[in-house]
């Protein structure tokens, strides 16, 4: 939190009088104003000599605070923004697309949970291939377990011209990340890049894949202190910000742990549940088949519909 005087010569009303007035009340930076009542401060300013100048300073601080939060929008504006900018990206897997009534939503965080080797990485790679090839979009793939395979992506795309394949593969950027702090750094860098690139909506499809986010968060959740969960919450909110502000579809994968009475449940605990918009669960149903069902969705009722998928090919036969 930078001190008040760093507002600098651009704001002459924030002079040393104003700063000493604020310091006497325990306010050293603009953020400190958030914890105080501005009307009470104005009343305090009345007791000082030259209250008008102090009140001008307070009015300036008020305008700075107004810029510190996201803008208010009405329902029609949000609806138009969603209809114009936020598309639904198909994933390349018919079963999942029909379950989600279209595919992955730009602006939403979708979580895919399942036990190990149930096909989560395969699904992530397929979705990346689909977005890069069919939707001609950009994919950022964050790989935490060295499971990214360019060969499998090329296989998903199928037989195409070599030049086309090269263009498609160039649209996918892979980062190897092994701890949460590197992940936060990568996400902040991505956000900064997107902010400087997008002046107007350019209509490019965007997908961000994190495979798997649970391997980054589980090590920090160990203690009973709030730091681990605080980091997890901050990461989750950053993902949501990137998703919504820059029209990106975010896909994260999670593993399962054993729950009560021998059932399996998604890892990362109760606080994680509020972070994804949509949660999908993969379960093995014998042989090479697995079933995918919805645990949470903003508008579809959960757990009543599921798709059966053939593991090795990860598509076809679905049943609702």
């Amino acid at each position: 939190m930078p001190p008040l005087k760093s507002l600098g010569p651009g704001f002459p009303v924030i002079d040393s009088d104003f700063q000493s007035f604020c310091a006497s009340l325990g306010i050293l930076s603009v953020e400190d104003f958030l914890l105080h009542d501005l009307d009470a401060l104005a009343a305090q300013a009345d007791l000082r000599p030259s209250p008008e100048r102090l009140k001008q300073g307070l009015a300036l601080v008020f305008t700075i605070i107004e810029s510190m939060h996201q803008p208010w929008r009405n329902g029609m504006e949000i609806l138009e923004d969603v209809q114009k900018n936020k598309r639904i990206l198909s994933t390349g897997c018919e079963g999942v697309d029909s379950l989600l009534k279209g595919g992955l939503h730009e602006g939403h965080v979708t979580e895919l949970t399942g036990p190990s080797s149930s096909g989560k990485t395969q699904f992530c790679l397929m979705a990346s291939a689909e977005v890069a090839y069919k939707h001609k979009g950009l994919v950022t793939y964050i790989d935490t377990g060295n499971s990214f395979s360019a060969k499998r992506i090329a296989h998903s795309i199928g037989q195409v011209d070599k030049k086309v394949l090269q263009t498609v593969m160039n649209r996918i950027i892979c980062y190897s990340v092994y701890d949460i702090f590197t992940l936060l750094a990568v996400l902040h860098e991505l956000e900064f890049r997107l902010k400087s690139q997008i002046c107007e909506r350019d209509g490019i499809a965007r997908l961000l894949v994190i495979d798997s986010i649970s391997s980054l968060i589980t090590p920090i959740l160990g203690s009973n202190g709030p730091q681990g969960r605080g980091l997890m919450t901050s990461t989750g909110w950053l993902l949501k910000k990137v998703a919504d502000e820059y029209s990106t579809a975010v896909l994260v994968s999670n593993h399962t742990v054993s729950g009560n009475h021998g059932t399996t449940k998604p890892a990362l605990g109760e606080s994680w549940k509020v972070i994804p918009h949509t949660r999908l669960l993969l379960t093995q149903v014998g042989g090479s088949n697995c079933s995918i069902s919805i645990i949470k969705h903003p508008s579809l009722e959960n757990a009543t519909s599921f798709s059966l998928l053939n593991h090795s090919q990860f598509c076809i036969t679905y049943k609702v």
Partner: protein, 341 residues
């Protein structure tokens, strides 16, 4: 001058009848749409809806918003709404505007005599029929959507800044629309709980500097909300997600709020009927601010939907404050939450 002051102070401002008319006009009693219909509420009340994720909390907020933005009557059709403005502060950042639009269109369709059941049956037969767009549907829809104001906050400082500047915003919108703000919805008041708790109190060079700890932040938030309620009376409905799971090895002590004793009593009673794993984690200052409490749970039962195809899980709703001993059951359909008898 002093005499005038004292005389003026003890002279009558208004009679009892006038006061009652004024208060009931400013803060009328209203009923929220089912399943929150059991208790009448007024502007100035603060309702907290707790539940795990997912348990239809956001849907209840959306339904309350739809009920508020719809006009009472429009072009001869009775919609039964309040025709007022709604503010929605999204701390969870997972609001889906398509869902709001869907619930709104269902209400409009139903008010105009459309039968929702027929539509659902048609859809179940394999058709992907869109809701029939009646002429002038879009005009009413856009009027209602324009009465809904939305902001999202990605961190506590943004939430604090939003509340600080809310008074000016409210005044601007009230003047522009000529309608009052009846409802303030906050989705997931506990969204930044862990981040706030993890904020360590640094060594303060200045003695009277307020810190961004959990207590400090909540004192400022509740203070701003109280100020807002005194100037613009409105109903506040906040959803709260539980942050503690059902594990037995959690060594955290729950925050002891003023109402924690009541909650403990309720809990021992409810344990007999269904599992209850909610522990109060909000600071005492917020717990004292809340005037009504509702709890949502997912039950293991399910019921066949009207189109006969899927089985839909039943959600349970119980009022903790005021303590009613009834549990309402509802299912979530495309039209919103529907009570199950």
């Amino acid at each position: 001058m002093v005499e005038n002051g004292v005389k003026g102070w003890i002279s009558v401002n208004e009679g009892a009848r006038e006061m009652l008319e004024r208060v009931l006009g400013e803060r009328p009693v209203m009923m929220l749409p089912p399943p929150l219909h059991r208790v009448p509420v007024r502007a100035g009340n603060v309702i907290e809806i707790s539940g795990t994720s997912p348990s239809a909390k956001t849907l209840l907020l959306i339904q309350a918003a739809v009920n508020c933005v719809l006009p009472t009557e429009w072009e001869g059709v009775h919609y039964g709404g309040l025709g007022q403005l709604v503010l929605y502060i999204d701390l969870d950042c997972h609001f889906d505007v398509a869902r709001l639009q869907q619930v709104l269109r269902y209400r409009i369709f139903k008010a105009r005599g459309g039968r929702v059941v027929d539509w659902e049956q048609n859809n179940a037969k394999g058709g992907n029929v869109e809701l029939p767009l009646i002429v002038c549907d879009d005009e009413l829809l856009s009027l209602c959507m324009r009465r809904f104001f939305y902001v999202r906050c990605y961190q506590t400082s943004e939430f604090l800044a939003t509340l600080k500047t809310l008074h000016c915003r409210v005044q601007r919108e009230v003047e522009a629309h000529g309608a009052r703000i009846q409802l303030l919805l906050i989705d997931n008041i506990g969204a930044f709980h862990w981040v706030d708790r993890a904020t360590t109190i640094s060594v303060l060079e200045v003695q009277n500097r307020k810190s961004f700890s959990l207590q400090g932040v909540w004192e400022a938030l509740v203070h701003d909300l109280r100020k807002l309620l005194s100037v613009h009376p409105m109903l506040i409905v906040a959803s709260k997600a539980s942050v503690f799971g059902n594990t037995t090895n959690e060594a955290e002590r729950p925050f002891q709020g003023r109402f924690s004793m009541d909650i403990a009593d309720q809990r021992s009673r409810m344990k007999e009927s269904h599992k209850h794993k909610f522990r109060e984690y909000m600071p005492a200052i917020w717990q004292a601010f809340v005037t009504h409490r509702v709890i949502l749970q997912n039950s293991d039962e399910s019921v066949a939907a009207s189109n006969g195809q899927h089985k839909q899980p039943i959600h349970l709703l119980e009022w903790l404050l005021p303590a009613l001993n009834t549990v309402d059951k509802f299912i979530v359909g495309d039209a919103g939450a529907v009570l199950v008898p």
